[in-house]
Amino acid sequence: MDMDPSVPIARFENVGLRYGLGPEVLQDVSFELNPGSYHFLVGPSGAGKSSLLKLMYLAHRPSRGLVSLFGREIATASREELPALRRSIGVVFQEYRLLDHLSTFDNVALPLRVAGIRENDIKRHVEELLGWVGLKDHMSARPPTLSGGQKQRASIARAVIARPSLLMADEPTGNVDDRMGYRLMHLFEELNKLGTTIVVATHNEAMVRELGHPVMRLNRGALDITPGTKSTPSTVGGM
């Protein structure tokens, strides 16, 4: 998807979200993510981090307010437009969400297959990336036979294989050792340098401080934004 650098990757305006008739888990959330930015999303458990990410990766529609992704307002987007928007988004789910009946190779290849990429190109790209995340020897393995860390890496590989414009990760380092954790964060940094907009939800405050990117802090459904200590291509635009 061709991006206009002047158009925010994501724009939330007074967004509220409730599940069914329950209380609002997100209240009046407003922000903009500029292209090429890198943000951490922090907050205590139950603060609404995963819900905010779900709105951003189009798993839910907001109960109120406006959500725009890549300049397209989601409320007015047709159902046929959503897959193209989703292909520009990579997601690392907290619970991995790998498909157990598929091999690691096929799981990682999924975004390329749904995009209709040729099998030869898929093979080349997937093998290269699986080698990079240390899963080359597990290409044929099914997810149930992988360790937590291996599943996490396979999930990350699936999220980045199609070179998304927006990458979201929900606790991506939660199940890997420190060395692999920093290696994965380095991958995110490299993708960010190539222009990918990144949002990482994490509990790891040490990593947040060390990397110094802007922080979106959620507390009881309300969002507070703190500028980063490190210079980034663009910053969170609080509204």
Binding site: H60, R79, P83, A84, R97, L99, D100, P111, V114
Partner: protein, 294 residues
């Protein structure tokens, strides 16, 4: 429309394992109904074309006249028929044939034992309307007791009965198709529920509804075809056996009821048709259900 490779574990659905056998059973019944339909249609068609352009003229024997007098009555009738417009061909039914036709009622008798009527088969020109009642009046004015039978009344009744049976067979075929379609819809909906998690992952990675529907359609097509072939393999020996029994039963009473080539071809096409219907049904079901999701 269909896909062989699948990202969804559709093969592992317990219901999917039974579907080919359910379809096989339905295709078996459908093959029976379809064969009945084709056989009855062929029967009605043959009766219609084979007998509509024929008449039978019956000259009762004159018990006081003797053979010579009866021969004269026959000759007079033949002469009148020869001069009647619309009559193409006449043929006197031999005494031995008449005896054979009467044997179910009279048993084995000789021509000298009973006064035999004389029968004349008349072939008429289908292009010229020949009214059997007018012909009968014309013949009866010269030869006493002559009767003309154009088979029309009982033929019409028989054909009506056959057509009713045909409609019944078609309704049975329709119901079987409806039941098969319903089974595929139910199985597909169950599959959508069972694989909701995987379908959501596919959606979130950017899959179009049609990408997911293609996988369900491919699976349903395969199961439909497999079930159809099993049903056909079971149906063919049954039909051959029924054909054999019918051949022995008809013994000159019924026309040949063997299935025409087109009938066999339509039976062979049945598994393909069922596979296509199953695939299309699954695709439509998935597309409709996915529209309700975000």
């Amino acid at each position: 429309m269909f896909s062989r490779r699948t990202d969804l574990p559709l093969d592992q659905d317990p219901l999917s394992r039974f579907l080919p056998w359910l379809i096989a059973f339905m295709v078996y019944l459908a093959a029976m109904a379809q064969s009945g339909l084709i056989g009855l249609d062929e029967l009605a068609r043959r009766w219609d074309t084979g007998m509509a352009a024929t008449l039978t003229v019956q000259i009762p024997a004159d018990p006081d006249g003797g053979k010579a007098a009866n021969d004269r009555r026959l000759q007079k009738t033949m002469n009148i028929l020869a001069q009647t417009p619309g009559v193409l061909h006449t043929e006197v039914v031999s005494e031995s044939k008449v005896l054979e036709l009467l044997s179910p009622w009279l048993g084995v008798v000789q021509a000298t034992d009973v006064p035999l009527p004389r029968l004349i088969d008349v072939e008429t020109d289908p292009e010229i309307e020949l009214d059997a009642r007018v012909l009968q009046q014309k013949l009866a004015s010269t030869i006493k007791g002559v009767q003309v039978d154009d088979h029309g009344i009982w033929l019409a009744r028989l054909i009506q009965m056959v057509r009713t049976l045909e409609a019944f067979a078609a309704a049975v075929l329709g119901l079987i198709l409806l039941a098969a379609t319903g089974t595929v819809v139910f199985t597909t909906r169950t599959g959508l529920t069972v694989h909701a998690e995987a379908i959501e992952v596919l959606h979130l990675t950017g899959a179009q509804d049609s990408y997911i529907a293609k996988q369900f359609a491919g699976r349903a097509w395969g199961m439909g075809l497999k079930g159809g072939l099993i049903g056909l393999v079971l149906a063919v020996p049954t039909l051959v056996l029924l054909g054999y029994v019918a051949d022995r039963l008809q013994a000159g009473m019924l026309p040949d009821m063997s299935m025409p080539l087109a009938g066999w071809l339509s039976l062979i096409a049945l598994p393909l048709a069922v596979g296509l219907v199953a695939g299309l049904t699954a695709r439509i079901t998935v597309m409709r259900n996915l529209k309700r999701m975000i």
